[in-house]
Symmetry: C2
Subunit: 267 residues, 2 copies
């Protein structure tokens, strides 16, 4: 299970403030905390700073990688921002995300071929957001076909089915779960990834929904997730679900987490 | 989602004591509490009292149904106990369970034809316990075939895949999950049911494992569950998972539970 830590996102007030103030220590602490909690990649997002996004992303890549040995997930809808951040990145990065929107797709292909990052491929087209799992699977299949023809290895592609709130339409949870299952079955080498929090938008007790959505998505084959690894219960759910799904030899990961107090929740 | 309340089981010390003392008030309270918490059936089990099992089961059926209007799940490996308890039961009961063991199967068929209870059909044969999902599915298919030929409606059959601990073999969780999926796909009218606690036997923090196993099993199509409906978090997980799976119009059940404080966990 690939874990991408989502905390360094400028949509969080504390992060926006730290970025504006160029507070390197605060950003480095967030990166190290997430790495220590089990993250494999650290997402960096400065999307709210429209004009300054490129500069701030570059600053975050350099700041974090000077102090913490961990690869980053460059999170932006802006190909220019992704390109410039990737050029500075040490080691193999992840990008979040390419889509099947013509302009975005074409701008990112050259840099993907140059730097060979892991690629989050979001199920979105110029025609808008998909609703059903059939629509999502069609977009995903097309993206997989195109990316592999460009030389991207299937295991380097992480399909994001695009999570939408169940408060808007009760079928939106199942649509994502079915998409994960279809991709896992039809393209066994390709990975799937998603964020958790959109699923619960508009509802109370959002954490509960997010926590269990991860369990359901893992049961359908999800192989990557973008979330806050400092959320002890979600991390505990991830560890426990791996054991339930037969991915934890002798329940060793589960037992280690238990002994370390990681399964002892107070909420 | 059919909920069977598991609390009135003589393997619990307090229940054994209440049964021995013929403490009707204690048994009635357990039944009412579970009904109020959302149980559709109340499981009754007096298996530890080998010689007295029949008498005690009959006493529980009469005692509970005099005071609480709820059907019972007669839980015994003993066909004689099931037969005598069913004969006293008002309304339509559930029996737990028939198996593909020759003697047990043949003894129960006449009473099933007479009283037409819902039937838990456990994936077990005279050859012992199944290990893989293929073995479980083969037994389930044979039981479904035989029971429907005897006139049992498919929707009255609840296949129990037989949950075994992941501490014994890491594949045992997946084996059950895959069986649920295969049955749901191959026999869409047939129901599936299981208990939760066997999955976590031999491991610490058992409740966490049980809670998430329910979410995973529901994601695969589980339509019935035997558990303690007074366990607030498991019940909250059930309600939340229904919403995630598109089974809760406008998330109405979820919102009602939230307003009633049922999603406000302290553990």
């Amino acid at each position: 299970m690939l874990i991408v830590g989502e905390r360094i996102n400028a949509s969080r007030k504390a992060i926006a403030a730290a970025i504006s103030a160029q507070d390197a220590a605060a950003i480095i602490k967030e990166a190290k905390d997430q790495k220590n909690a089990g993250a494999h990649f650290i997402d960096v997002n400065a999307g709210i700073f429209v004009d300054e996004e490129v500069r701030y992303l570059k600053w975050m890549v350099q700041t974090i990688q000077q102090e913490a040995e961990i690869p980053l997930c460059i999170d932006s809808p802006n190909p220019k921002a992704i390109t410039e951040a990737l050029a500075l990145h040490k080691g193999r990065a992840m990008i979040n995300s390419i889509t099947d929107e013509k302009e975005r797709y074409q701008s990112l292909i050259p840099i993907i071929k140059q730097f060979k990052p892991l690629v989050v491929a979001l199920c979105m087209t110029d025609g808008g957001m998909p609703h059903t799992s059939d629509e999502r699977f069609k977009i995903a299949s097309r993206l997989i076909d195109k990316l592999t023809k460009e030389g991207v290895a299937p295991q380097d592609i992480y399909i994001d089915p695009l999570v939408m709130p169940i408060s808007t339409d009760k079928s939106f949870g199942n649509a994502v779960l079915e998409t994960i299952e279809k991709i896992t079955t039809s393209f066994p080498k390709v990975n799937t990834i998603c964020g958790l929090s959109n699923i619960s938008y508009g509802l109370p007790s959002r954490k509960l929904i997010n926590q269990l959505f991860l369990v359901a998505a893992m049961t359908k084959g999800l192989s990557g997730v973008i979330f806050d690894p400092l959320d002890k219960r979600i991390m505990g759910n991830l560890i426990t679900t791996r054991a339930l799904l037969g991915k934890d030899d002798y329940c060793g990961g589960y037992l280690t987490a238990f002994r370390a107090g990681k399964l002892d929740f107070k909420d």
